[in-house]
Amino acid sequence: MEPNSPSPCRPSHSGVRLQVRELRFLDKGPFSFIVAAGECVGLSGRSGIGKSQLLRAITDLIPATGEVFLDGKACTGFLAPAWRSRVTMVPAESFWWYDTVGAHFAVEEEGGNLLKNLAALGLDPQAVRWEISRLSTGERQRLALLRALQKEPQVLLLDEPSSALDAHHTGLLEDFVRQYRERTGAAVVWVSHDPDQLQRVASRVLRMETDGLTEVSVSFPEHQEREE
């Protein structure tokens, strides 16, 4: 993707990080696209078209045919848990299984990094001690993102990550993801129904139909070359 990277070498912040090739699931597809290291690609499409399922297929949570590569290495070459730790999906609805927020985070994370991240997303530093039941939807959404970042995934699949946030916190979240992307060279796939948001966060936007993806112009996301 990037002109000044001759080979897709792994640790660098350049080259193709995520490649999805001919992915098919549940009578849908084939879907093919690539995301460069440090790039964010937007994914749009009408409700129910299967955007979440596409992300689930990429993270290998549902059976699919076709192939997905991380830095040129096929998904099948990883153990499934290792794959999901590197290609991590943050679903629109998050689930929590312990009573408190902190129990879902690794112990060493509870220190500086987590506190800094909480502040960056506009969350109370005390949030780690809170009980899950008292969290608002928006708080859950942001905490779910932090929880997913614990293992520093190289690919982040975000399913409507700011659907429950107001404009101010949406902005904080967008900045936070951008900084993560720039710092680690992670590739991001961002699902959203908000064209303005995709324009802000993504360098390209793909529109999903049942039989494939089409790239749409970022400035006019509603305008497509091939619409059924």
Binding site: T59, D60, L61, I62, P63, A80, P81, A82, R84, S85, T88, M89, V90, P91, E93, S94, F95, W96, W97, R147, A148, Q150, K151
Partner: protein
């Protein structure tokens, strides 16, 4: 060993209690009278039949017949466990799973008891083998079906949490650990409770039977203790293997939760 033999008239007196109960059920419009009569007749027929079968089996004492009988009992127990599941695993694997768990809980433990503990000659003497197996099958069935039923139900209801944990890179074993140990506890609690209550609240059926049959109480008690140990161990092993095998069925090699192996949604 002088048991007072029961005549048909004696049994008829006991049966008349059920007639009274049916009449009462009609009066109170409980709608249970048909079931009471049908199932008491069915129970009588089943037990009379098994009495005849056992008489023949005891007389012949052939290994082949004992094994045949044991297999029939095992299949029936496996089917019963499977039938008690609210959400069933579709196809043959659900039944095989129940069968496998019952095999572990009862067959293996009975074989151990016959060969190592009681050391009866020959080991397949039907007077020992068949009642022992029957008792183990009957008593471990409850725990195993409870545990399996809870497992499918919880996996279905908590799919969100399980998938969330998988999404965070946990293996299926990690993602379902809490749920599986909870199901194992559910399966084992009844036998632990009945060990606590044995002799204080309830006089176990086998011991009562032996005492009525003229066995000295202390001998009967020793057998009862043996049986309780075997049932507890059998239930535990059966529950653990049932839950482990369910895990292998519900999660595939890529650590995905495959709830589609369940038979359709509940109505």
């Amino acid at each position: 060993m002088n048991v007072i033999s029961l005549s048909s008239f004696d049994l008829a007196i006991a049966a008349s209690l059920l007639v009274v109960l049916s009449l009462l059920s009609m009066l109170l419009s409980l709608g249970l009278e048909k079931k009471i009569i049908l199932f008491s007749c069915r129970m009588t027929a089943q037990l009379l039949l098994i009495g005849l079968v056992l008489r023949y089996l005891f007389a012949s004492g052939s290994l082949l017949l004992v094994l045949l009988m044991a297999t029939v009992m095992l299949l029936a127990a496996g089917r019963e466990v499977w039938a008690r599941q609210q959400r069933k695993i579709a196809g043959i694997s659900g039944f095989t799973l129940s069968l496998g768990a019952m095999f572990v809980s009862s067959f293996s433990v009975t074989a151990l008891a016959l060969l190592v503990i009681i050391r009866v000659e020959p080991w397949y003497t039907p007077q020992y083998a068949i009642p022992l197996l029957g008792m183990l099958l009957g008593n471990t069935m409850t725990g195993i079906s409870l545990a399996m039923d809870r497992m499918t139900d919880q996996l279905y209801k908590q799919r969100g949490v399980i998938e969330q944990r998988l999404l965070l890179g946990q293996s299926w074993q990690e993602a379902s650990r809490d749920l599986r140990s909870d199901c194992m506890r559910t399966g084992m609690i009844p036998i632990i409770n009945s060990m606590a209550a044995a002799g204080l609240v309830s006089l176990p059926g086998m011991m009562t039977g032996q005492i009525l049959g003229g066995t000295p109480p202390v001998e009967a008690v020793k057998y009862q203790i043996l049986i309780m140990f075997l049932i507890a161990a059998g239930t535990g092993f059966g529950v653990i293997s049932a839950i482990w095998m369910s895990g292998l069925l519900f999660f595939d090699k890529r650590h995905r939760l495959r709830l589609e192996i369940l038979k359709g949604p509940l109505k």
